[in-house]
Symmetry: C2
Subunit: 341 residues, 2 copies
């Protein structure tokens, strides 16, 4: 039906105008700014229907309409078309990322870049240890009774732990452990490593086995730890732009939520389940008090099909979804490319 189509056009127009002007949009303005070919009165009928359906709402009687979360959802799922980035933009992204010297630098540059592109908060998750492969495992004796265990992954991430030993250890034994561990572990996906190392101690002299076991335990603990999931933020200042008027009261709860890395990690993990390339969580869908007025746009990155971690952008529900989606996707793509090198 034609009128049904127009209703969606109206919704799209409302979202676009509201994102741009930040003010409730009325029927008159709508027909003036868009070639809808009908009169304001007709638009009002459509608006009433859209409001009935829960896609838009009015802040108070006799104000214009504002999209609801459901309205944004509809917009994102069915009404928006992806913006492609300009060639110079792409070029700039690539140049910027290519100058990084190590993983920390790559991540840092990525998150700043995304924040700047979207004018929002950007978040980058470090390559997950579990989804990476072991490049090398290094054991370094430190002083008399300490052993430093250094994990190096194919994504360039380096994780280290100090191990307190029960007694002194010979360089020879350390060398043997290093050799055997690397023989087994190198190139392996870390997730699969957990079971694999179980029977490794048997290859050592019985007297050395307790030590070997403790080393393996440290490795497995490292992989299991909550803290292995590191995330980095940038662009929080962007939240306060425009007088911070994007949020009803203050942005304090938003900033608090962002500092709770647990919250972000949960969201990133959940969104990894969504079977779409770019996942979007809108307003209340974040399931977090402080984030009801914000939306998340995230996607995975990594050198192969299944991603090693996520990258995303966080902004007010009233954000430029097509632009944000394009930026997130672009940065993720170049990031993946850099890491694969």
């Amino acid at each position: 039906m034609g009128s049904e189509d127009r209703r969606l056009d109206v919704l799209r127009a409302i979202v676009e105008d509201y994102v741009e002007t930040r003010e409730p949009v009325g029927s008159r303005m709508l027909v003036e700014r868009h070639r809808l070919g009908v009169s304001p009165a007709t638009i009002r009928n459509d608006m009433a229907a859209l409001e009935e359906g829960g896609y838009i709402a009015q802040p108070h009687t006799s104000a214009g309409r504002v999209p609801t979360d459901k309205g944004y959802r509809m917009f994102v799922d069915r009404l928006s078309t992806v913006k492609a980035l300009s060639t110079p933009e792409k070029r700039a992204i690539q140049d910027f990322l290519e100058n990084a010297v190590d993983l920390d630098d790559v991540v840092d540059r990525s998150v700043r870049l995304l924040a700047q592109l979207t004018h929002q908060v950007a978040v980058v998750q470090y390559p997950s240890l579990r989804h990476s492969a072991m490049r090398h495992l290094e054991l370094v004796p430190v002083g008399e009774r300490r052993l430093l265990v250094v994990l190096i992954t194919d994504t360039g991430r380096v994780e280290q732990r100090t191990l307190e030993l029960a007694g002194p250890v010979t360089d020879l034994l350390v060398a043997e452990m290093r050799t055997r561990l690397n023989a087994v572990a190198s190139g392996q996906r870390l997730a699969q490593l957990v079971g694999t190392l179980e029977n490794l101690p048997d290859a050592f002299a019985p007297i050395d086995r307790p030590l070997v076991r403790s080393v393996i335990q440290v490795i497995e603990e490292t992989l299991a730890e909550e803290s292995e999931e590191r995330i980095v933020l940038a662009g929080t200042a962007n939240l306060a732009r425009g007088g911070g008027m994007d949020f009803t009261h203050t942005l304090s709860p938003v900033l608090e939520a962002l500092e709770e890395q647990v919250v972000l990690l949960r969201l990133l993990t959940e969104m990894a389940q969504d079977s779409v390339t770019v996942a979007v969580r809108i307003g209340h869908e974040t399931q977090h008090e402080g984030l009801v007025e914000t939306s998340f746009v995230t996607t995975g990155y990594g050198n192969d099909g299944d991603s090693v971690a996520r990258i995303g952008s966080i902004g007010p529900t009233r954000m430029d979804y097509p632009g944000t989606i394009a930026a997130v996707r672009a940065v993720a793509r170049y990031l993946s490319r850099i890491l694969a090198a």
Copy 2:
């Protein structure tokens, strides 16, 4: 002179009241809340003198007085007495920090802790490479033509760089480099290392010397890099507390300044020069546009006399200076203790 003393008392009272109430303080309120033993009219005369001296100002003609930066400076330098933390508080600090598993964790816990104690923004600088000593230097061949150089310091910091090689390298040569480099470098302060390594290549076979030189160059570059100075922030949400009304317009410029790590690094470095244990920069003293309404309280930490890096708290000029100073000092002390272990 007695009246001179009272004037300072009045200034102290003004600062204390203003910090507490966040509102300009008038002569009547002042005599009611403090046992000054004189009438409001007398206070007014003192106030006029203090205003003449530039220590206080009035926002508009008939409002109370507000301390100026100069007033806060006087308060900090001559009028405030340090608050000691309660024993349970100290206990909590120690317990919290002791549970850290590695340096990243220690730094992360410290910065969060300080943010929570002060209800302000906390900043912690990673132990400076140059001020640390080398614990171990590890070389890890990666693939055919890449070498991973890993620096491990006595403060637990681990820095790694990847080196692209001109040609393949034998395990034997890597082992020799590792041995010789560690023989020379282990235990050395990294700052002194720069000259020391110069003639090390001579000990190698002539054909290997270019490679050795490139490795040494990477090490020296790493020490020289700007990026070796890492800092971590926490508690930015605290800036927005109380409706963000601590700042005249928005906190956007403040957040922007905080994201510019360069700005923070400059300040931390400058403050390291101040020959006091706890350095304070008030308002315009920060010499930065976005920070004219904020103050910095920082101190060094580290295992010995001269500190390896700094820790600090950032808040509105109208902050609780004694409390902040006490908290910063306490966390720095415990942090130093943990790192020395």
